[in-house]
């Protein structure tokens, strides 16, 4: 019974984590490049509705993913143009993307509300591996989108910390002026990372409607975009810690409901709030500058790069 419990908690935690991680890892890249896109929730909703629309109407999953990626590129370009070329305030631009994405997704999603797509990325058990006790059924019986994420995690770690491109990425966020002097095109690089982050963000949404569940409903991301934003900060821009954070968040949510079924003295809302309390506390301890040491935050985060002001 106990082993089963761990497996099932892990299962739900993993599905939850994968969904949030696409957006989180994308945003880690974006923030390391020195920008901040708060509109993840809007991106997710647009990704969710686009993927689902194509799945319902064209009954073709690869096409749905292509459509989602195109939407991601489009929205990423809008954000990049506004914040990099036009040097507008990033928080506010993010909020604009959020609001517009939320409205637009509901608008175009109306036609598929309550309509069944009957087409999703089914879980694919990996032969052999999924028989491993406890971990097997949860880790190795997931959809292909999850398996792709299993690769993205180590790849992004290697990219950021071990490659030359990763070093450039880190400089983009810390000291773009130095890069500029060295002859790199800061603007173009930032464009690339913002678009990448945006594509990852919409993929999160596609995960929800095409693998986690298989339906569309207005606003169905229920705040996952904000959780992703929180995870980025909590993880100190490190993809591996982001994974742990996402798993933890998912696990605490499940356990909260488990505990609340047995302990009735404490109101159920306390357990619903538990993941957010945990994130809040974790945020203080992981990002708090207790000893006046250098923060690991990219030094030029949120400051648009402007040659004139060098």
């Amino acid at each position: 019974m106990s082993a089963d419990l761990i497996t099932s908690v892990l299962s739900v935690a993993i599905i939850y984590a994968v969904t949030v991680l696409y957006a989180t890892i994308g945003e880690i890249f974006v923030q390391r490049a020195g920008l901040m896109n708060l509109g993840l929730e809007g991106l997710m909703l647009m990704g969710a509705v686009t993927g689902y629309l194509v799945a319902v109407n064209q009954q073709n999953l690869p096409l749905a993913i292509v459509a989602v990626i195109l939407v991601g590129i489009g929205m990423g370009l809008v954000f990049a143009f506004t914040t990099i070329t036009l040097k507008a305030d990033q928080t506010v631009t993010g909020m604009a993307i959020l609001t517009f994405g939320t409205g637009l997704s509901g608008f175009i999603g109306k036609s598929v509300c309550g309509v069944s797509a009957n087409l999703m990325f089914e879980p694919i058990p990996i032969p052999g591996l999924y028989r491993i006790p406890i971990l097997g059924p949860s880790l190795f019986n997931q959809s292909i989108l999850a398996y792709v994420m299993y690769f993205i995690i180590p790849l992004s770690m290697i990219y950021i910390y071990k490659t030359r491109a990763g070093m450039i990425l880190r400089s983009l966020g810390e000291n773009p002026a130095a890069l500029d002097s060295a002859g790199y095109n800061v603007f173009a690089l930032r464009y690339v990372y913002v678009v990448f982050g945006s594509v990852m963000g919409v993929m999160s949404g596609a995960c929800i409607t095409l693998s986690y569940t298989n339906f569309w409903s207005d606003g169905m991301t229920s705040g996952k975009g904000w959780i992703a934003v929180a995870l980025v900060v909590f993880s100190r821009w490190n993809p591996l810690i982001a994974v742990l954070g996402a798993l933890l968040f998912g696990a605490i949510s499940v356990i909260g409901i488990d505990i609340q079924m047995y302990i009735h003295v404490i109101p159920s809302q306390v357990f619903s709030a538990l993941p957010y309390v945990a994130t809040f506390i974790a945020l203080i301890f992981t990002t708090g500058n207790f000893r006046k040491k250098r923060s690991s935050e990219p030094g030029s985060l949120c400051i648009p790069y402007d040659r004139e002001e060098r």
């Binding site: 099932s8 939850y16 109306k110 986690y212 298989n214 409903s217 499940v254 488990d258 609340q260 619903s272």
Partner: protein
């Protein structure tokens, strides 16, 4: 200078407040009542519980519905696969039966029932468009509609939920359907542990929980229902987790109050069974949904429309109907036929009055006696459901 402005501000507030104090004369009773609607409906007119015998009554041969314009205020979209869809389909069905064209129906969706401006705008919009019958699909509108109803006495407002002034109330005895669903689960299950995945701590949810629990008990006298609370009307993560937690706790048969396919899908993945809620959910999880409880508003709306046409309707009317309104879909093919037969028999017993769901002796889960032996619970108390029956294990 700053202090001056601050005190200016405070003075503005106090001045406004003073005006409140010596303004129009409020009667003592309005002051002390706290505006409880139950007492005010007594003051304006006795609630008239419409008898269920009127269900299915046909309109007169010369009844003329052509001038009818009907408006509906929905809290979400009409194809939400749940509550609003049920209301809408019931209304459309009733109109069709009476020969009223769908062009005479104006639907306003996504009117949040906590949003005063939107609700008022919606009601005013419908009145301006000439609606003589306006349906409010959600209880929350009752905070705002009575005032508008009073200003527009020619229009008939009908509202889901308990009775409010000037508004026809309607509710469905969902407990009949859920009781039968619980009974089916009780008959099919090997164990006495059942589950319920609940959204929010609200009367219709509590009704569903209690009825389900009583139904399970009807089959197995030691049946216990564990409740997992999502604290949200709509959250696929929470719903998935609730179902998963119940399954982990050993539950194989569960009921639920939910709006997404998350719970049926989770049950199917784990070999558990669930009662569909709001609508037929067998398509979402064919191997897990044994039967679904559906809201059938058509008879009620038909009766209201007929009553408005022939003038027999009254604004004190309260519809609290069960029977065909509290509908169950067909059972899934994996449900044994003897279970189906027993449930059918129980349904007939409820209709004939032989089987009363909330009959004594009934205790709540804190040990208090709700209904003494030999008696039955009155409708007003059933509507509020401010209790959980004794075999419900719930954090609320």
């Amino acid at each position: 200078m700053k202090k001056k402005v601050l005190s200016l501000l405070l003075t503005a507030v106090m001045a406004a407040a003073l005006l409140a104090g010596c303004g129009s004369s409020e009667t003592e009773s309005a002051d002390s009542s706290g505006n409880s609607s139950a007492s005010s409906s007594e003051a304006s007119g006795k609630t008239n519980w419409v008898s269920q015998d009127k269900m299915g009554a046909a309109p007169a041969k010369d009844a003329d519905f052509s001038k009818f314009k009907i408006g509906e205020i929905e809290s979400y979209v009409i194809d939400d696969g749940g509550w609003c869809q049920a209301t809408h389909e019931g209304l459309v069905g009733a109109m069709k039966e009476l020969g009223i064209s769908e062009d005479n129906l104006i639907t306003l969706e996504e009117i949040d029932d906590t949003d005063q401006a939107a609700t008022q705008a919606a009601a005013e919009q419908l009145i301006d468009a000439g609606c003589n019958v306006i349906i409010g699909c959600s209880t929350g509108y009752s905070t705002f509609l009575p005032e508008i109803a009073a200003k527009n006495p020619d229009a008939y407002f009908a509202q889901w939920g308990a009775k409010q002034d000037n508004i026809i109330g309607y509710m469905i005895r969902s407990y009949e359907g859920m009781f039968l669903a619980g009974y089916a689960c009780g008959l099919m299950s090997d164990t006495s542990l059942f589950g319920f995945s609940a959204s929010c701590n609200e009367f219709s949810v509590r009704t569903a929980i209690n009825a389900y629990a009583l139904g399970c008990k009807h089959a197995k006298s030691d049946a216990k229902v564990k409740v997992a609370c999502a604290d949200s009307w709509y959250d696929i993560d929470k719903e998935t987790q609730c179902a998963q937690s119940l399954i982990d706790a050993g539950v194989k048969y569960m009921g639920g109050e939910y709006s997404s396919p998350a719970i049926p899908e989770t049950c199917e993945k784990n070999g558990a069974y669930v009662v569909g809620y709001h609508m037929d959910r067998s398509a979402e999880a064919p191997d897990a949904v044994l039967v679904s409880f559906c809201w059938n508003f058509e008879p009620i709306f038909k009766s209201i429309l007929i009553g408005v046409e022939n003038g027999s309707i009254s604004k004190n009317d309260m519809y609290y109907w069960g029977g065909d309104c509290s509908a169950l879909t067909d059972f899934a093919s994996f449900v044994p036929s003897d279970v189906v037969d027993k449930v059918k028999a129980a349904k007939a017993d409820i209709a004939s009055g032989k089987l009363v769901v909330y009959a004594g002796e009934l205790k709540d889960n804190k040990g208090n006696v709700l209904v003494p032996k030999g008696e039955v619970m009155d409708d007003a108390t059933i509507q509020l459901q401010d209790f959980f029956v004794d075999n419900v294990d719930c954090a609320w």
